[in-house]
Subunit: 402 residues, 2 copies
C-alpha cells in the first residue's frame, strides 16, 4: 500500500484525491499495490468532505511520517510551495506537482535535492495540464536531438483570441466572458500578459536543452495589445493570431526562448487549436515534428497528470528518473534579436510619408480595418527589422510562424 | 556499454543504426552509457556499408552472445520475426520492434515470454511511427480509465484521400501517385484495404483495454470503394472522409473495434490531419480527449521510436515495464452492430420509389455528383440502419464521427 499526502485542497488537490479514488481499482492493478491518500494539508476546514478525517494543518505531520512516500504539491505560488517541497525531498520523499511557477523558478534546485536524497521530483502537470508532454520528451523522444518546441501553452488567452477571431468580440469583452466562464481569474495578469506561458516555455526549454532557463531571461509579450484590426488583417492573409511560447537550440548550443502572439498560417494545425485547448509542437532531428493536443488546464485533466506522476513514483520506487536539467546562468541564452523570422507590422492612419517598406514586404488591407496599415515582411532578424522601422513611429510588431 | 543487435537492414533497421550513431553523444549521456550496434542480421551483403563488419547471416550468433542485451527486430512479417523474437526473449534478451503485424498477432505471447525470461518486449514504433502513443497510454494516462481510441493510423491511405479531397483526383490516380512517391507499395493491399490500420487498432485496443484483440476479430473496410462523389457529398455537409481505426470499451467490459472510412466534421482536428501524417485521439475518464500527431511512417521517425525503446530497455535494465495485456478469446469482443452512430448512405441514380428514409435523415446533394443520392442519418445502430435500408438496393454506407 502506497501512502500519499496532498498539499492544498483546492481545485487541483481535490481533483487528485478524486482521480485516485474514482480509478482506484485499475490504478492498483497497474502499479501492483493500492495507492491511498493518507493526509491532505490545508489551512481551511472541510467538515463535509469525505476526506475530513485526513485533513491536517501542520506540514511536519507529513514530513515526519515515514509511511508517506509521495507528496503531491498542489498549493501553487513559489514561496510556501518551495519550502514544503524542499522539506519533503530532504525527508526522502518524492514530490510531484502541477505548480509551474515553482518549477520554472526552482526546478534545478529540486531535481538536485531529489537526486541527493534518493527521491524523485516530477511535474508533468505543470505544462499542458493533462496532455502528456514532459515525460515523452525524456522517453519516447530520447533518441532525438531536440531542436525546437513551440505551442499554445495557455488556455485562457487562447479562449479570448478564439472569441476575437470567431465572433469579432474585442479583447476586453472576451476577457470578461472568460472570467464569467471561470477560465480567467479576477486578476488576469498572469494569463493575459503571458507570464503563465512564459513559465511553461521555461520548463520545456530547461528539460529539452538541459540548462535551467528562468522566466526573467525570456522576453514575454501577452495579448492585451492585440486588436480586432490585427485579427482582421491576419485573416486577410489567411492567418490567425495565437499566443505562442517558443524555444530553440542554436547550433552553438545557446538557447532562445520567448513568448509572443504570432500570426500562424490557417493550414498549420496549431491554427485549429481553439478555445481553452493547448497544442505543443516538438521538433527532433529524427522524428521531425510531433504535436500533442488536449485540455491544458482544468481540475480533472490536471489531476490526471499529477496522479500519473504519483503512479510513476510508486511503480518505480527508488529508481531515479534522470532528467538532464543542469543549473542556469548568464551564459545559457543566445541572441534573440539575431533570429530570422517573418514579421507583421501594423500602424494606425496612413503609412507615414517618406517611409520605405522593407524589401519584399507585402501590404495587408481589409474592410474591417480601414484606418490601419499593416505589412508582412520576408524573414529577417529583429535587429534588421528595427533598422527598417526607424522612419515609422508607433508600430505594433508580431512574429509570423513560417 | 550496451550492445544491441538489429535484425533486418532494410529501411527501418538502417534507420535505427543511423539514429544511434547520429545522436550517440546525447544518447550516452541520457542513458548513462554508450549504446553500440554489435550485430546487424541480414541475408543480403552490404559490402559498402559502414556497418559491413557487423553484418551476420546466422541468428544464433546473436542469440548466443551474452553481451547483446537488446534485439531490435526490423524484419517485418509474422513468420521469421516471431521465431527470432521468441528465441531472443528466451535467451534472456529484451526485444523491441516496429513490426505491427507480429505484435498484433503474437503480442500477448511475447509479453508472457518476456515476463518469464526477465526481459522486456516494447513496440512503440508499431503504431504511429515516431509519434509517442503506446508509452503515454501506460504512463502519462495511467491514472485514467481509458474509454475510447480512434485515429488516422495509416499514412498511405491518408495521402490518397488528401489527394482526392484537395485536388479532385480519383482513387486510382491518387494511388498511382502514392506509389510514385514511395508512400505506397507495389502491392498496396495491406494499406488500401485497411489491414495495416487494423493491426494498429488491435495493438491500441489490447494495450488500452488489457485483452488481446486479433485482426480477425476486427471488421475492416479500406478506402478502395470511396469515390469522388463521396468526397463531394461529404464536403457539401462540411465533412471530410478519413480512414479511421476505432476502439471502445463498453460498460460491460467488452471491447469494440473496427476500421472504416468515416465522415468527419471539418472542425474536428483530425479533419486537418493531411498527407502521410497520422493523428490519434485517446479518451480517458479524467483527462478527456488527448491527441497525438506526427509522421506515422518513414525511415527516421520510425527509427526514432525503435531507438527510444532500446534506450528505455538499457536505462531500466531488469525493471519490467508492466503492460497489462492478457490473452484474447471469443469472449473479448462486444456487438458492434449495437453501437449507435450516425451514418452516411449513398446510392446511384435516383432514390428508389417507395423507399422511406430513416426518421431525421438529411438528404445531401451537390453539383459534382448529380446522378448520386445520399443522406446522413441520426445516430442509430447498424442493425437499425439495416432495417431501414431493406427497400434500398446496393447502398454504400460509412459511419459518421460525431
Amino acid at each position: 500500500m502506497a501512502k500519499v499526502a496532498i498539499l492544498g485542497f483546492g481545485t487541483v488537490g481535490s481533483g487528485v484525491a478524486e482521480v485516485l479514488s474514482m480509478n482506484a481499482a485499475s490504478i492498483a492493478s497497474r502499479v501492483g499495490e493500492p495507492v491511498e491518500v493518507k493526509y491532505i494539508l490545508d489551512l481551511r476546514d472541510f467538515p463535509d468532505s469525505p476526506y475530513a478525517d485526513r485533513l491536517v494543518k501542520d506540514f511536519s505531520v507529513i514530513e515526519n511520517d515515514p509511511e508517506v512516500s509521495v507528496v503531491a504539491e498542489c498549493i501553487g505560488g513559489a514561496r510556501v510551495a518551495r519550502d514544503f517541497t524542499l522539506r519533503a525531498l530532504k525527508a526522502g520523499k518524492s514530490v510531484v506537482t502541477s505548480n509551474k511557477e515553482v518549477v520554472a523558478e526552482c526546478g534545478d534546485e529540486f531535481l538536485e535535492a531529489a537526486e541527493e536524497c534518493g527521491g524523485n521530483y516530477l511535474f508533468e502537470a505543470s505544462v499542458g495540464g493533462g496532455i502528456p508532454i514532459l515525460r515523452p520528451l525524456g522517453t519516447d523522444l530520447a533518441a532525438n536531438e531536440l531542436t525546437e518546441i513551440y505551442g499554445i501553452l495557455n488556455g485562457t488567452t487562447n479562449y479570448i483570441l478564439t472569441k476575437m477571431i470567431k465572433e469579432g468580440v474585442p479583447f476586453d469583452t472576451a476577457l470578461a466572458e472568460a472570467q464569467d466562464m471561470g477560465y480567467a481569474e479576477a486578476d488576469p495578469t498572469a494569463d493575459v500578459e503571458g507570464h503563465d506561458a512564459c513559465r511553461k516555455i521555461c520548463i520545456l526549454a530547461s528539460l529539452a536543452f538541459g540548462r535551467h532557463v528562468f522566466p526573467r531571461q525570456v522576453p514575454t509579450r501577452g495579448i492585451s495589445s492585440v486588436t480586432l484590426a490585427d485579427v482582421a488583417l491576419a485573416e486577410s492573409a489567411n492567418m490567425r493570431i495565437k499566443l505562442l511560447g517558443r524555444t530553440l537550440r542554436q547550433a552553438d548550443g545557446k538557447i532562445l526562448a520567448y513568448v509572443a502572439p504570432h500570426l500562424i498560417p490557417e493550414d498549420n494545425l496549431l491554427a485549429s487549436v481553439e478555445d481553452v485547448f493547448n497544442g505543443i509542437v516538438v521538433r527532433g532531428n529524427a522524428v521531425d515534428d510531433v504535436l500533442f493536443y488536449g485540455r491544458g488546464a482544468g481540475k480533472m485533466p490536471t489531476a490526471s497528470a499529477v496522479a500519473a506522476d504519483i503512479l510513476d513514483v510508486v511503480k518505480n520506487q527508488g529508481r531515479k528518473v534522470g532528467l538532464g536539467w543542469a543549473p542556469g546562468g548568464d551564459d545559457v541564452m543566445g541572441d534573440l534579436d539575431a533570429l530570422p523570422m517573418a514579421w507583421y507590422v501594423r500602424g494606425t492612419g496612413t503609412v507615414p510619408e517618406g517611409s520605405k517598406l522593407p524589401q519584399g514586404a507585402r501590404i495587408l488591407g481589409c474592410d474591417e480595418a480601414p484606418d490601419t496599415w499593416a505589412f508582412l515582411t520576408e524573414p529577417m532578424t529583429r535587429r534588421e527589422l528595427n533598422g527598417c522601422l526607424e522612419a515609422f513611429s508607433e508600430t505594433f510588431v508580431l512574429p509570423v510562424l513560417a
